[in-house]
Symmetry: C2
Subunit: 93 residues, 2 copies
């Protein structure tokens, strides 16, 4: 297995991994157990990865992190929406 192939498989898995979380959160309408601080830090980090990738003109870094950003922003948006709906604003760590 070539070195690049390990990288592609790695990038694919760590990017697409958040899709099951999006689907689960949408299905259960609950993300209480998901840390909002994790989402905020992760999303901030992804923005830095996208800037870094842009500066390096690395399309794979930009694309992979943009997809991950969209998925994690969806989880965050659902968490906030469902928390407000439940009137349980448990936004602690």
């Amino acid at each position: 297995m070539s070195t690049d192939l390990y990288g592609f498989v790695a990038a694919f898995l760590t990017t697409i991994a958040f899709l099951p979380q999006v689907l689960r959160t949408y299905k259960t309408k609950s993300a209480d157990d998901v840390s909002i601080l994790m989402l905020l830090m992760f999303i901030s980090g992804l923005c830095f990865w996208i800037i870094y990738g842009s500066k390096l003109h690395s399309l794979p870094v930009v694309i992979a992190n943009t997809i991950t950003l969209i998925l994690n922003s969806s989880i965050l948006a659902m968490k906030l929406a469902y928390s407000l709906n439940d009137s349980k604003r448990d936004l602690t760590v």
Copy 2:
């Protein structure tokens, strides 16, 4: 801000982001809302990143992904342990 600095900030944030999730899961003893499929796919991807980093002799890639792997494995272990404790084996997506 130098290009490398964006990369370091990005790597720091997306690595350490999982610490609040570890602490939250430990505190609440619940990770029902966290998708097990996400954890399994993400952990598999991290293993590929570590192999990829090793093959490239890239210590930053190996170290950052090893820390993320440890944090995510802890979340998975706690999710499984608390699910078993509750006798609620909801291991669906």
